[in-house]
């Protein structure tokens, strides 16, 4: 167990925030999760959004109404202490074997592991990065992501010029299909299910599809 000091809590909307904490001696690979605890013994896993060389840890969190952990984390102030597990995980975006290529598809806070990867390996960019949120204000780190030449944003509940209006799965036809590409999906379960099925239906091997479900709810993204 690690005790980490809160550096900052940055809200981008009323319910979405980035929690920044001191890194201490935490070592991790992009895609790793950490279980963060409230002031009791309840914990929830959050994916690290920081790069592996950064001095701090970043977590992208959605404040769940009456949530046992997210609500408590949202109320932290700089200098507060947060208990955290050691990093762990089974999702390793972009972990290339024999130079294989990657495609990232995320919804909501599911962009966190991909941000971690992009910040850790800025020269190893994916073939395509698709990101779905409801409204423009809910997109985390959009300036950073829009620097990628192959980034596409989908807004399901807002029309904004230059961005796709609709769910991110409306952009699946953009995805290149090849046997040397690994497909990494993170976020809402329905997006992951739909995208996995679309990929398999289009001949992508099951072993090339990697999934990380962050939340279960009615599809709105």
């Amino acid at each position: 167990m690690n005790t980490l000091t809160v550096l900052n809590v940055i809200f981008i909307t009323d319910e979405l925030f980035e929690l920044q904490v001191e890194r201490g001696d935490v070592q991790f690979e992009p895609g790793a999760c950490v279980a963060l605890f409230n002031n009791g013994d309840e914990s929830r896993p959050y994916s690290i959004a920081a790069g592996s060389e950064e001095d701090i840890l970043r977590f992208l969190i959605r404040r769940v109404p009456n949530g046992l952990v997210s609500d408590w984390l949202a109320q932290r102030k700089p200098g507060d202490l947060v208990q955290a597990s050691a990093p762990f995980g089974w999702f390793r975006p972009g972990r290339s074997v024999n130079g294989e290529r990657s495609i990232f598809i995320a919804t909501g806070t599911g962009i966190a592991p991909f941000l971690s990867y992009l910040r850790s390996y800025p020269l190893q960019i994916p073939e395509l990065c698709l990101y779905g949120v409801r409204r423009l204000e809910e997109g985390f780190n959009l300036k950073e992501l829009q620097n990628l030449y192959n980034f596409r944003l989908a807004l399901s509940q807002e029309e904004v010029s230059s961005h796709f209006h609709g769910r991110v799965t409306g952009l699946l036809e953009l995805i290149p299909l090849a046997t040397d590409i690994h497909y990494y999906l993170c976020g809402l379960d329905t997006m992951i299910d739909e995208t996995s099925k679309w990929l398999e239906d289009h001949g992508v091997a099951y072993t090339q599809i990697h999934r990380e479900i962050f939340f279960y709810e009615d599809a709105t993204l």
Partner: protein, 304 residues
């Protein structure tokens, strides 16, 4: 830590000698890969959940030592449970080493940790020894299964079960057993799901009773030495898991040999740091889960 031999432990509350099993042989060695799990099931008798560290990740180096020692003792099989074994970052390497020597069994929830690594798992079918998977499908009703394990996880586990079968591995399932159930009817209710997944209709189904959360103390009858000799024959005693198996558990940075897969929450069942020492020690049947074995023959093993 060695088993403590206090009077309270050696005797029941009625001051009768507590029943015990004298280990006979080491046919099967279990490894606990850690209580870290991708799921958070409220009934989990291990208390496993994301980030949990009650039982720590076993490393390849640690597992190799016990695998090698178990081979000296004539072990026939290695089995692995968690937590979810595929959350352990060194698990596939551990499995790879174990399969060089003996058949292996892995208990898994067959969701994302395994799904994401199945490309690394499939080549294990070419190892010298067979690999079997036991997938948790708690109920033959997806809604009931998903109530505890999370939405969509019945479908995912069933899908992975089929992929493992088609990949050339042996498969079985584990389910929960209710006290008043008609077991045959419950088992038969899985048939349409097995058919959809493309696995044999007569797939082995391992049933587990309620084991309660770690550290809980449900009221059960105490097992005396007299119970074990009057009601249980020597042949039956030999079928108790603690007679022919042990489990490796890592706590506080150190591996210990535990009496069986169900008693890692009581330190009295830590039988020491080596299998040779552990096999010499009587296993006192003082855990409430021991009563499940006594009364119902509960066993995590599938035989050799």
């Amino acid at each position: 830590m060695k088993m403590q031999r206090s009077d309270e432990w050696l005797n029941t509350s009625q001051n009768e000698p507590r029943g015990y099993i004298q280990p006979q042989k080491l046919d099967e060695l279990w490894f606990h890969t850690g209580t870290n799990c991708n799921l958070r099931c409220p009934f989990c008798f291990e208390g496993s959940k994301p980030g949990d560290n009650r039982i720590e990740f076993l490393t390849l180096k640690e597992a190799r030592g016990f695998i090698d020692e178990a081979l000296e003792l004539g072990v026939k099989k290695f089995s692995f449970t968690g937590g979810e074994p595929f959350v352990n970052p060194e698990f596939i390497q551990i499995l790879d080493y174990a399969l060089e020597h003996r058949p292996c069994l892995v208990l898994t929830n067959a969701t994302e940790p395994l799904m994401n690594q199945i490309g690394e798992v499939l080549p294990l079918r070419d190892k010298p020894n067979p690999l079997n998977f036991r997938v948790s499908l708690d109920h033959p009703d997806p809604v009931k299964h998903d109530e505890s394990r999370g939405r969509g996880n019945f479908r995912k586990a069933l899908d992975t079960l089929g992929r493992l079968h088609r990949g050339g591995f042996g498969v079985s399932i584990a389910r929960q057993m209710l006290t008043d159930e008609d077991s045959d009817t419950v088992d038969q209710a899985y048939a349409p799901y097995f058919e959809n997944a493309g696995v044999p209709a007569n797939l082995l189904i391992i049933k587990f009773p309620e084991f309660h959360l770690p550290g809980s103390l449900p009221q059960v009858a105490e097992i005396t030495e007299s119970c074990m000799t009057r009601f249980i024959s020597p042949e039956q005693r030999a079928t108790f898991m603690c007679s022919f198996s042990k489990m490796i558990v890592k706590k506080n940075g150190q591996c210990g040999v535990y009496a069986c897969t169900l008693v890692d929450d009581v330190e009295n069942y830590d039988l020491g740091n080596t299998l040779h020492d552990a096999m010499k020690q009587r296993v006192l049947l003082g855990h409430h889960r021991c009563y499940s074995c006594f009364a119902g023959g509960a066993s995590c093993s599938e035989g050799s």
